[in-house]
Every structure is written in C-alpha cells, then in structure tokens.
C-alpha cells in the first residue's frame, strides 16, 4: 500500500523539481570519502551541563519546588530527566507562567533565562509571600548567565538578599552529531534589531568552552560586527584562562553574522529536513507529527537525528528525491518480509531473533516519513507551492520583477498567510536593494489593510533591520554603481536622528550574486539526483550566500581576492592564526579538516545540508554551532510587536 501512495505523490512532485525523473532508485547514499575525519564526541557537553546543574541544585539543600522557564524545558529534557531532578530533592516541577503560584514548599528554585519579565514575576511572587507573612527560601538560577539589569531589579523591588542567585553555564546543547545550539532564539532580535550586545559575551563563552574541550583552534575566520566582537570576547577569555597542551580535535573556526546573509533564511526550504521544519517546526531536535501523518487519532513526538536511519538518509535530499528513496526502501522491506514464506522453523527462529526487530523498527520509521511526506505534499499543493517557488526564483534571478510584485500584491489582497506575504516582501526588498517609494507605500498600505494596522510596528522593525526598506531618492545611481562593481559609498550619513535605522544596510544582492555566481543560469537543466553544487538545496536556483562565503574563504585560506565581496557586505571580515608556538596550522592533521561554523543569529537546516554537501565534496567535516535553528517564519515572527 505504501508504495502505491508513494508513486502517486511522486508523480505530483515531479513538477517541483523541474527535472524528469524516471528512476525510483536514485543514488541516495553518497559515498563518504575515505579520508573524511571523525567528528568529536559532543555528548560530553551534555554531561558537563547536567553535572553543573546538579551541583547548583545541591546549593539549596533539602526539598524544593522547581519552576522552569518554558523555553528551557526542552533543552533541559535533552540532558536530564525528572528522575535526576527528583534524586536531588526536587519535589514538584512547575512551568513559569507569570501567574500567582500554588506551591506549598518552603524552598523555591527558579531556573530561568535572564529576562526582566521573568524576574519581575519572581519579585511579585516573593513580595506576595512577604505580604502574607510567609517565609521561604528562594534561589534563582540564570541560564546561561545573569545580567546586571536582572539583579538591579531584585534590588529595586527590595528582595535582593532574600533571593540568592546563581548561574548555570549551559551554553551549548548538542542537537545531533554535527549540530550544536545555544538555544537562544532572541539573540537575533536583541542583537540585530535592538542593537543590544548582551549576548556577545555569551557567544564568546560558548566558543571558549568548545575551545577548551575540543581545541586549541589554530585558525579563525569570520565576517560581521558581532562575529568580530565574539572573537574578541573569546580571545580575552582564552588569555585569562589556562591552556593545557592537548591534541586538538577541532582546528578551524568560521564565525558569521546572520545579517551578512538574510536572503537564505527567507527562502522556502525544499530539502527534506528544512521542509519538515518549515511545516511542522522542529523544536530542540524533536518534532510532533499530527494525526494526518500518523494516520491514527494520536499525535506522536519523534526525535529527528542521525539515530533515525531512514531520516538520516533523506534529511539532506531535495524533496523530489525523497519519494523515490522511500518507495525503494518500502520495496526492500517487503522483500525482506517475504523471505519468511519459504522458511523452515529453524530459519524462522533466526529471522525472528535477528532480523525482525530491525525490520519492524525500519517499518515504523518508514511509514512515519512516508506519512510526513504525504502530508507535506498535500499542504504544499493546496497553497500553490509551485507558483510561490516560481516567484521566489524570479526574485533571486531578478527576472520579471513586475510580475512578482503583482503576485505578492494578490497574495496580500487575498489575505493569505501574513508571514508568507511578509517573507515575499522582504525577499523583494533584499534582492532589489529596497523597493521603489511608490511600490513601498502601496504594498505597505495594502498589507496594513489586509492584516491589521498595528503592523505599522512590524514595518518599523523590518525597516530598522534592513529587511524591508524603501529606496532613497537618488539611490538608483548607487544601484548602478554597485552594478558595475564600484565601491558603494553611502553619502547620506543620517547621523543620530536616524539611530534606529542605522543598522539597516544595503544588501547588494544582485552584485554579490554575479560576483559569487550564486544564481545559476535558469535555462540550464539541473539534475537534482546528482547535485553538482550547493544550489541543489534550492532546486538548483540559488547557492546560499552564507555557505558560498565559507567555501570561498576555506579555499583561499582567507579573504584575499574577495575584497570587493566584503566591501559589498559592509566589511568586518577577519582571518587570524594562532601564534607560532601554537599548533602548527600547516600540519595536515585530522583536526585541520574539521571546521566549526558558528552562526550568530541562527541558521537554517538548508544551510546545514549545504555544508554537509560541501564537506563531502572537499573531504571536510563541518560542525554547525548556532544561536538557534531558524527559518523564515521564526525569523519574521521575531520581528512582530503587534501583540499585547
């Protein structure tokens, strides 16, 4: 039955790929180059975090109730379980809900992010107790660090001293063999929109932790203001600390600010893992599949990582390739099951004890991913995905822009998904270096009419960040300038009256695209079965700028020859090597072929897939460290202010 379903979906999806597929057995498993080095073991990070948490809990001896901030719960789940907490005298567990509490315990422990809102709530809790003449002990554990503003609030509220505070340096959560997350989605907004550098040191500390456990690093490259500051913070911490002689497991590091490339995270994802994230939202490496996927009345939560053998083989594949693979798998499975028919008792016994369990497991995973594919296919067909992709590709290519604008306009007029409309508007602005004033006004007015006038706040944020801007009069010249590859010299130095839009900058996407060959010619056929470059993650239409930069810098061992590119990206690039007494960078040890890429402000699953592809091509291994996994919806939702 599964095969039949597959073939049906399979036919439908062919349109997306734009390539005729005649075989169902694509070469899915890429041959891993023999010399690709092994990845370091990151489970140690979990253990360190767990041990420190236990230590901190023991600082408040005796039974206590624990209040956990909602978005710390999933990360906590990945490193400890309730039993661990219970073993250390945690009585009841509560989620922070900003409401009066019901706990009867004499000791309260709060495990929170360093946020004013949460601390305010704790102040209310403590002051309410005081008003009732109730005496308890309170402890706040900030993760990953505390902020002065939070403690200042405790002082202002008159409870400093009544409450003890601590830090749980849980900087890094390994989500998979090659993905580590800081689980700080607010990093993007705080840093790039608000211009608040509170997380810079956090990023530096996270890097420092990796350096002390898996380093010493011998080479660091980077681009972006925040990357530079994080580098400095890391360097200071290294100098203050002790470095022991040890064999490095990770040799090279690449730091990149999210705002260096905002186009990539705004593109629709079509690689399997990215698509699952776009549609179902993977949270902390775990996804919840609803009844439409499980074809039962229950939802189930599934961990998506390399342990899932089926998932591991399709996660990096273009969606159009996934069906062929799954149907082949389904057939193989059928064959394996069919073997039973001619078996005698003894053979059957061996079969049951040795193979059946594996087959059953595979069957379960297979039907899950087939269900997911089917459900995703249905949803995408319903929203005219193909036309949407066509518009996106036209924008990336700079082709038929007026048609794209009409399409976006109609999208808005019909009140289809607000975030999708916003995404398309931002892509238009980023690829075209801003909208013509006439278009900007008209599209903004229509957007406000369709989705609510309070989105004025959203537009202001998008402008401030440079995601959706209006071309300034006289800017056409600048666009022309960048076309011929000249230095972009923005003379309109709107000093500080313009402080809020000063982080906004031109994207220069077209010029960058040409210089780095990001957009392959559209008339060439792109065979998604045998991808020739990283563009496959976007159906062959676009090589992600972020990954292309990484590729280029590694190839050149620095930024030499990329001066024009960095100029268009507003500079802030660097490449540094450890002092000569450090480990010799020229020695080709395995660690030199392990590259840690740190995205400040988030990265997408599509980018991770692209880097895995690059790694296979070059015999390298990439480890992605990110402040959070992002996608277009998360990125844009962080720009919204229109809720009470």
């Amino acid at each position: 039955m599964t095969v039949v379903v597959l073939i049906a979906i399979y036919r439908e999806v062919k349109g997306w790929a734009g390539v005729l597929l005649c075989s169902t057995s694509g070469p899915m498993a890429h041959s891993v180059r023999r010399d690709a080095p092994e990845l370091p073991d990151f489970s140690l990070l979990k253990r360190l975090a767990r041990d420190q948490l236990i230590y901190l809990l023991e600082q408040l001896p005796g039974r206590k109730d624990l209040f956990i901030e909602a978005d710390l719960m999933s990360p906590l789940d990945r490193i400890a379980n309730v039993t661990t907490l219970k073993q250390h005298d945690v009585d009841k567990l509560y989620k922070v809900e900003y409401k009066p509490i019901v706990s009867t315990s004499d000791q309260l422990c709060f495990l929170i992010r360093p946020r004013i809102k949460t601390v305010k709530w704790i102040c209310d809790v403590v002051n309410a107790d005081k008003a009732f003449g109730r005496f308890r002990k309170y402890k706040i554990i900030f993760s990953p660090q505390k902020f002065y503003a939070c403690e200042n609030l405790l002082e202002e509220q008159g409870i400093f001293g009544d409450v003890t505070t601590d830090e749980w340096s849980f900087y890094l959560l390994p989500l998979d063999d090659d993905i580590i997350s800081l689980e700080l989605p607010e990093f993007f907004r705080d840093n790039f929109l608000e211009g608040d550098q509170r997380w810079v040191r956090t990023a530096g500390s996270a890097l420092h932790l990796l350096h002390s456990v898996y380093g010493p690093f011998s080479k660091l490259y980077g681009i972006g203001r925040c990357s530079k500051m994080a580098y400095e913070s890391w360097r200071e911490q290294v100098e203050e600390g002790e470095q022991r002689a040890r064999q490095a497991e990770i040799g090279n590091v690449f730091l990149i600010d999210r705002d260096v490339d905002l186009v990539t995270p705004l593109c629709s994802q079509v690689v399997y893992e990215g698509l699952v994230d776009d549609i179902f939202r993977i949270k902390c490496g775990c996804v919840e599949f609803g009844p439409d996927v499980t074809s039962s009345d229950k939802s189930i939560k599934v961990m998506l990582n390399s342990q899932d053998k089926v998932f591991n083989e399709i996660r990096n594949e273009h969606f159009s390739q996934v069906f062929g693979f799954l149907s082949q798998k389904a057939r193989n499975l059928q064959t394996a099951y069919d073997k039973r028919s001619g078996m005698d008792i003894k053979q059957m016994k061996t079969f049951v004890s040795e193979e059946l369990k594996g087959l059953k497991q595979e069957h379960r995973l297979l039907s899950l991913h087939i269900g997911a594919s089917e459900s995703m296919m249905k949803r995408k067909t319903k929203q005219d995905f193909q036309e949407l992709l066509k518009t996106e590709h036209s924008l990336l290519e700079g082709f038929e822009i007026r048609e794209c604008i009409s399409y976006i306009e109609e999208h808005i007029n019909r009140q289809v998904s607000m975030v999708e409309s916003m995404r398309l508007l931002c892509l238009l602005s980023l690829t075209e270096n801003g909208l013509l004033p006439k278009d900007y006004r008209s599209l903004k007015a229509q957007f406000l009419q369709s989705y609510g006038i309070d989105h004025l706040l959203t537009f202001s944020n998008l402008k401030q960040l440079g995601l959706l801007v209006e071309q300034q009069p006289g800017e056409t010249l600048t666009v022309m300038e960048s076309r011929v590859g000249k230095l972009v010299n923005d003379k309109t130095a709107g000093k500080l009256t313009d402080a809020f839009s000063s982080l906004a900058k031109k994207s220069n996407f077209r010029a960058l695209g040409r210089r780095l060959n990001l957009v392959p010619k559209s008339d060439e056929e792109y065979d998604l079965r045998v991808p020739r470059d990283m563009a496959y993650i976007f159906s062959g239409a676009y090589i992600p700028l972020s990954c292309k930069l990484i590729e280029q810098v590694l190839e050149r061992d620095g930024w030499t020859g990329l001066e024009e590119v960095t100029r268009m990206l507003n500079g802030h690039e660097f490449a540094v090597t450890a002092g000569s007494n450090g480990s010799d960078a020229r020695v080709k040890t395995d660690s030199q072929r392990i590259i840690l890429v740190m995205f400040l402000g988030g990265c997408t699953f599509s980018e991770i897939s692209a880097l895995r592809f690059l790694g296979r091509e070059k015999g390298l291994k990439f480890i992605v460290v990110t402040t959070a996994i992002t996608n277009s919806a998360r990125l844009l939702e962080s720009m919204l202010d229109n809720h009470a």
Binding site: R198, I453, G494, H572
Partner: protein, 445 residues
C-alpha cells in the same frame, strides 16, 4: 573573574583609542584606567557572587568527569594542577564600533590595518598562576564616578568592552545619577549606548517612544477606551504616511463599534434573515480593514452609501483599490452563492448600452476563487470562457470539467481530432457525448 590585566600598559599602548592622548594628559589616562577597572569589576560583580565558586564555574576541563557535584569540583581542581602551558595567543582585532551604514569601504579597510600583524604576547610565567591567587577583589562602587566627564569615560569604556551586560549596568548607574536631559544629550552622540538604553527602557516598560506609545493601545481591552486612546495618538508626530494609517485605525475602530452594536442587536432580535441563516462567528471589533469589508459585503450588501456598514462606504473611506474591492466582494458573494451579484460585479455597459464583462484581474484568477468557493460548473464555465489565452482556457476547462467550453473551443478551432479524443473521455450517452456526436456528424457534410 577580574579582567584587569597585569600588562595593562602594554595593552593600552597598543589599543586604538583616538580620542585621548595617553602620554600627554595623565589625568585622562588615569581616569580611563580607572573606568576600565571599574567596568571590568562590574563584570565580575555581575557574574560572580562567591569567590569560592569562581574558578569552578568558568573553567571546565575536557576530561570526562565522574559525576554529580563532586565531579564538578574535581574538574575545577584538575584544571589548576594539570598540564603544561603553551603559548596559544591570538591577535587582537579592532572591534571599534563604527556605524555600518555610514562608513564607506575605505574607512573600514583602514580600520582593518591592525590585521595581519599577528602579535604574540608573551606573558611572564609567574602571572600564569590560577586567577584566584593574584586576584584582588575590588568591591567597586560606581558612586565615585561623579563628574560628567568621568561618567562618560566609564560609559565609553564599557562600550569598548563589547559586553552589553556591562554597558547596561553603567547606563543604569547613569540613569540614577544624571538628569534625563543630560543623559540623553550625551547618548545622542553614542549610538551603541543609546540603543542599549532604549532597549533597557523598553524592557522595564518605561519607554515612550513614538511607535511604542501607539503600541500601548494593544494593552487596552475595552474597545471604547481603546478608540479614545487611538484618538489621542492622532496628535503624535508621525510621518505623513503613518499618520494616515493611524487615522485609519481610529476611524476603523470607531465604525466597528457602531456596526457591532447595531448588528448584535439585529441578530438577537431575529429581524434579519441573513444573521439567522449565517450566525456571526465572532465580533468584528479589531479586525483588519479587509476583513471588515468582507463582513460588510456578506451582511450588508446593497445598503446605501450613506451607512457606515455599507461596502461602498468602507471602500471610499479607506481608499480600497478596485482590485482589492473586487477580490473581497467576490469572495463574500461567492461564499453566499449569490451568483447574480457575482455576475453584476463584472458587468459593464458601454455608451451604446451593450454589456460586457471586465475585470481588473485575470479571469483565470476569478475562476480559481469561484472554484475554491464551490461554484457550480454552469457558473464556472461562464468565467472560463472569458479567459483570453486559449491554451489556459482549455486547461482550466479540463481541470474543472467544463465540457461545453472544451467542445466549443475545439469546434471553433475545427479540431476534429481533438474532439474525437475528447469524446473518448466523456461518459457515453451523456449530453456532452451527444453534443460531440452532433458536431462531428454535422461537419462531415
């Protein structure tokens, strides 16, 4: 952890501060050093409470540890004792804040001259002792920074340390110890500090910047109070465009309140069929303009322009484009299966009195919308017929099974072959089958 480095002098000479000349003005230099020490000490105050924990918290070794709290301590002590020290220093890179927007590529590249020269700093080995051994715990109070000049030096030093936490800490002190006017005057020329300050005010909900003031309406539940609040926003100095939008917002809510009160009453009295047949699912309050228009096209179609609830009035008041109006109206009338109204939307009369169907959007789109609203084939095919592009027309007709359109198109194209093919696709004996038969036999002659 204290960041005051033993080799501070060397550090300062190599740094890139341009505003001060260290050699000449001893005063500035001392003050600066003081600020830096203070800033660094804030960091340590902020980060650590207890000297004991200090080392344990910051430095984790890479060794696999035993377990539980014991192991955390073990880990910490092992760091102090094991291993030889290697020089592993990395060059400092210039992170001097610059306004990205205003800086040309030139000025940036000149800032980057510091690169390339990978200076290795050799620290005296005796200074490599564990931190706690030489660390003196300054309990710094910022109170001693009393002159404006000192305060500003402290702030600039904090900004140069790139730690938002420290910047905010200094700003909190300045907020307490400087008048608003003075603080803002200085912040105006310090963008990074200013942004931190605004963000901090926003978080403690003290801010009252333009759009943020407008944003406050979201916190008002009562619609009348909300409306009045929006009215008070009208006098704020918005840009001309935004002022129009805020005005619209006020007008919209004002009318929604009137419409809601009226319709609620009509609905509960059971006077109007439309509300009985299609009870309202939600209140219209605080809905977007287009949703309000849809609502009005659904419940108040055909009302005279004079009433607030009429589509024509809403269209005019909020300057809704023809295209947008048509799309919304079409959606609402199609939902009600009011095909006559749908028809009228597209019918225009020319000066001779002939009627013709026109649309500001392609008819293939119209077909799409009608189909999504479950329009019957008879209605659909009328609009499929109006699609100009023959190929598109055929494909739409096939998609929605508008046999007549297909048959007529092939007939007009005199495409006998296609007709025969199509005959094979329709049900034998059906009306369309007979129609094809008839055309085929007629054309045999």
């Amino acid at each position: 952890m204290i960041r005051g480095k033993p080799d501070e002098d060397e550090y300062w000479n190599s740094s890139k501060f341009k505003a001060f000349t260290f050699d000449d003005e001893d005063d500035d230099f001392t003050r600066l050093k003081e600020s830096k020490r203070a800033v660094n000490s804030i960091r340590s105050l902020v980060e650590e409470e207890d000297e004991e924990d200090d080392v344990e918290k910051v430095s984790w070794s890479g060794e696999p540890v035993g377990s539980i709290s014991w192991s955390v301590k073990e880990t910490a002590s092992s760091i102090r004792s094991t291993g030889e020290v290697r020089d592993q220093s990395f060059p400092k890179i210039n992170t001097a804040p610059s306004l990205p927007k205003n800086s040309s590529g030139y000025s940036l590249s000149s800032l980057f001259k510091a690169f390339g020269e990978t200076s290795i700093r050799n620290y005296a080995p005796e200074l490599r002792k564990p931190k706690s051994e030489y660390k003196v715990r300054y309990v710094y109070s910022l109170e001693k920074f009393r002159s404006l000049q000192d305060k500003l030096l402290l702030l600039d030093e904090a900004v140069n340390a790139h730690d938002g936490n420290v910047i905010t800490a200094v700003l909190i002190y300045l907020k307490k110890s400087l008048s608003k006017e003075n603080l803002f005057r200085e912040l105006i020329t310090r963008e990074i500090a200013l942004r931190h300050y605004i963000h901090f005010l926003k978080e403690i909900e003290e801010q009252k910047l333009l759009l943020m003031q407008y944003r406050d309406h979201l916190n008002i539940r009562d619609e009348n109070k909300r409306r009045d609040f929006l009215k008070s926003c009208l006098s704020l100095p918005f840009s001309p465009d935004d002022a129009t939008h805020v005005q619209d917002h006020y007008t919209l809510l004002e009318r929604q309140i009137i419409i809601e009160a009226n319709d609620k009453q009509v609905e509960s009295s059971g006077q109007a069929d439309i509300f009985k047949k299609y009870p309202r699912k939600a209140s219209i309050l605080n809905m977007p303009i287009i949703t309000t228009l849809y609502y009005s096209c659904f419940y108040h179609y055909g009302e005279s322009d004079g009433t607030y609830s009429s589509p024509a009035n809403i269209r005019k008041t909020f300057r809704i484009s023809d295209k947008q109006f048509l799309l919304t109206c079409l959606g609402a009338r199609a939902k009600l299966k009011a095909w006559f109204d749908v028809d009228a939307l597209f019918t225009t009369k020319n000066w001779l009195g002939y009627t013709k169907k026109r649309s500001p959007i392609g008819f293939h789109r119209i077909v799409d919308i009608l189909q999504k609203n479950n329009a019957p084939v008879q209605v659909l095919q009328e609009y499929v017929n109006l699609v100009e592009d023959a190929e598109q027309k055929i494909s739409l007709a096939q998609k929605y099974k508008c046999h007549d359109v297909i048959i007529n198109t092939y007939r007009d194209l005199k495409d006998r072959q296609q007709l025969i093919v199509y005959r094979g696709k329709v049900e034998r004996g059906s009306s369309e089958y007979r129609k094809i038969e008839e055309i085929l036999s007629n054309s045999v002659r």
